[in-house]
Subunit: 501 residues, 2 copies
């Protein structure tokens, strides 16, 4: 029975193991490796990636997929077997579209552009970076043509991170979100003195912060028997297998919010993969189905759980045990308000739950204009600053705090930025649906019990891995396609109450 499928599966395991091995090497590089090892490590990672790419894009793999598909004809859509072959067919077709020569060009351009971008950012010199960004934009257009698209060149890039998503839909949703969120942000701004977060800006011993981070990750359901928490300059989570999903955080000795919320955020990412159904292990289905869905889970844990009143009702006392002199006298209400302060800022990764989306929509609009040729790279800094003024009312004094802050474009990651806000919108829609389906959730969460909410996520999102597309998951879980309304409702209610609007 199913011997073609078995043969395919064996090859898939091999490729999966190589990909995961490359991730172990990358994790180690970011968290343990001495600096002297870097050049050799890059060689090792490159070798692993080349080999897994060669194995995956081989003619043999194409034949294995076709043979298995023929053998499985008629097997249920939701079965592991049909889902795996469906996913592999799509992924294989896509991977075969980029010729090796193009990939080599792209890798070289990324590496050189990254070096120049680092220098340009350090020296606040956009002109230095400009020709490289022009080259990257050109290559991204070429990549989109190679992948192919029907309506919009941007569709081909977006699809890499949010399979099946269409630019026109995202644009409409973001436009609507923007039109609702900018007035909300402006209303909050007029009451900005209503919330004070200075209690979070005191000296906090880093060793104790690390213990607190461990405590908080455990509190939200991150499984340390199948995980590990380390320190990294830029926090990330990475799955080395569904049974070994690791997180990193960073510590600011003078701001408690940094480590607490980075840890909760990465725990949310990691729990998604920790909860993928075990039957999917050692296949590419044992991953988050899209960058947006992945972000929905990190945001859910960071914000819907970690910035809720109920959460701190239960956990503030423990935080106070870690930091009695700094926080011993603080009330739950004070703490809740402090972690929800809205403040305009120049830097995306430091933005609060509300203004974060403004940073994203800005980038989404600019990168579409760049790729469509409506905006030339030379005019990008001015366009950036103009939108910052329009969305947030502030203008970065330097390009370093503006257009040069993120690495994504340098790495040709056009199409990635929108997934951050898609994550917020998905999270709100999931949250609303979970509460609709089970109204007692509200009471539970108010009492600091989030188990039922996370069980809902496990059932409707996590367990499926990549068996379903993002659109399939959202529709199955919430009964409707993605919309901006739940997030706008959630944000409006939350900030109106906190800021007394």
């Amino acid at each position: 029975m199913a011997t073609k499928y078995q043969a395919l599966l064996e090859k898939v395991h091999e490729i999966y193991d190589l990909r995961k091995a490359a991730r172990v090497l990358t994790w180690d590089r970011e968290t343990v490796m001495p600096r002297g090892g870097d050049a050799d490590r890059v060689d090792q990672i490159t070798t692993l990636r080349k080999l897994s790419h060669a194995l995956f894009t081989s003619d043999e793999m194409g034949e294995l997929i076709e043979a298995a598909a023929a053998e499985l004809n008629g097997v249920a859509y939701h079965s592991l077997e049909a889902s795996l072959v469906r996913f592999l067919s799509r992924d294989y077709a896509s991977a075969r579209k980029l010729p090796a020569a193009f990939v080599a060009q792209q890798t070289a351009a990324n590496n050189q552009a990254t070096a120049v971008w680092k220098q340009a950012r350090a020296e606040d010199n956009f002109a230095l970076f400009q020709p490289w960004l022009e080259r990257v934009v050109e290559l991204a257009r070429e990549m989109a043509r190679l992948y192919g698209y029907q309506d919009d060149l941007y569709d081909a890039l977006l699809d890499k991170y949010e399979p099946g998503a269409k630019t026109a839909d995202v644009r409409a949703i973001f436009e609507a979100a923007k039109n609702a969120l900018i007035p909300l942000y402006q209303a909050v701004g007029r009451r900005r003195l209503a919330v004070d977060n200075r209690i979070l800006r005191q000296p906090f011993d880093v060793a104790r912060q690390a213990q607190l981070a461990h405590y908080l990750a455990t509190a939200v359901g991150y499984d340390f028997d199948r995980g590990h928490l380390a320190t990294a300059v830029h926090p990330f989570s990475t799955s080395l297998s569904p049974n070994d999903v690791r997180i990193t955080t960073r510590y600011d000795p003078y701001f408690l919010g940094m480590a607490m919320f980075a840890t909760l955020h990465e725990s949310g990412h990691a729990m998604y993969v920790q909860n993928v159904h075990p039957a999917l292990n050692r296949t590419p289905l044992a991953e988050e189905t899209s960058a947006g869905l992945d972000e929905s889970q990190s945001r859910l844990v960071e914000n819907f759980v970690g910035r809720s009143r109920g959460f701190w009702r239960v956990h503030l006392p423990r935080v106070q045990e870690f930091f009695p002199s700094q926080l011993g006298q603080v009330s739950v209400e004070q703490f809740y308000r402090a972690v929800n302060k809205v403040e305009p800022g120049f830097i995306r990764v430091e933005a609060d739950e509300l203004t974060y989306n403004m940073h994203i929509i800005l980038r989404f609009e600019l990168e579409q204009a760049l790729l469509a040729g409506r905006l030339v790279v030379a005019d990008l800094p001015a366009a950036w600053n103009q939108k910052m003024k329009e969305f947030l009312g502030i203008v970065p004094p330097t390009d370093r705090q503006g257009v040069l802050q993120d690495i994504h474009w340098t790495m040709m990651g056009f199409g990635y930025f929108p997934t951050y806000t898609l994550g917020n919108l998905y999270a709100a829609q999931f949250y609303e649906a979970a509460v609709e389906q089970n109204p007692s959730l509200l009471e539970e969460m108010a009492a600091g019990r989030f188990g039922a909410l996370l069980d809902w996520m496990r059932q409707y999102v996590h367990q499926h891995g990549r068996k379903l597309t993002p659109a399939e998951i959202v529709t199955q879980a919430t009964g409707r396609p993605l919309s901006h309304h739940p997030f706008v409702r959630y944000a409006t209610a939350k900030y109106s109450e906190i800021y007394g609007l």
Copy 2:
């Protein structure tokens, strides 16, 4: 020019990267990985090893080696190119001798035997392990036959760890060493109360021990820019590249000697590969040339440096800063004597510099007898205990503290044990030659300066990697083949002085 060689080199880089990647995964498994990840990690490591083995033993590799050899005909023996092709030819021929079916049998037997051995050791039940050890001995004989040998079946196994070494030579050297060291040990035993090491057996804070370990590794020349120190149950060192050679140690909160000397030992191993000539990188030449030579460098740093008077003359004050209440009043002489106490014990890994060799010679004699059929597995525990009585005058009360203590035989590592004592003998011969060639070394070392000694090792041993065989290195460096005399002279002088014989 040399295009065949370039083609070979490219393939060698790929295989080397895969092997090193497997080591990164193993390092991570031993030091960071959560327990839940173990099954998946074993799959990943197995996939990497299978792939690198398949690439290395392919017909294509054989053709590449042959073509490069033909192209390089006449190139100098010591050149990188000739050395690499020479090494690869030997290694390829050897790797092709084991059929895949045998390797699969061996892996399965090792895995099962390991599980049974763990249980047998926990329950002190040799009978449980006996049939598995019989099976392993049979497979080891089969492996020796597959590799092939002329004089002695054991030669084929020894060659895996000490390329080119002959059983008859090792046997003669060990016999002579034994005849000199047993009387020395007995003389020391009659004066055992002359040395007291109770100052090392006090409570020592583990966090401070870790800082001390870092300090000591740096002091002997271990390069932390190309290394990392972690904690592991069984200390080891591993080279993830010559620019990333890591060490582990372990901490006993009631015995300072454990972490100090495990760290120095592993630093010695690691410095060998850290000092391999950079031109050898990304090839199998960038490794220690044999297990014995590797052990010579760990023993040199642990004992000839780390258990010398000069070393503590310089570093005891720093140790006293870490542990003022425990060691503040201790003199250099007291400390030097304490770290050189000779004590008979049942456990090899806890043995001192002198009795360690008795543990090894015992195992060397027993494993030869087993493989030759002169000893049956059922009689092994009695034979073990009889030799313990003969060599050290003590008999383990349980097999757990006797024949069941080591994993080596379980893993079919026959031929490995002698390399530990070979390491001690090599170290002494190197040490004596370095002093002969540069008599001012003695004064330097007495003043705690070991730079010149380590430079000598770098020049004569480290930099060559596997370009030369162990015998070539020893002869070039010391002008004569390996002998037991230098170690016997060193040990006799050292312990006669310490114990007032």
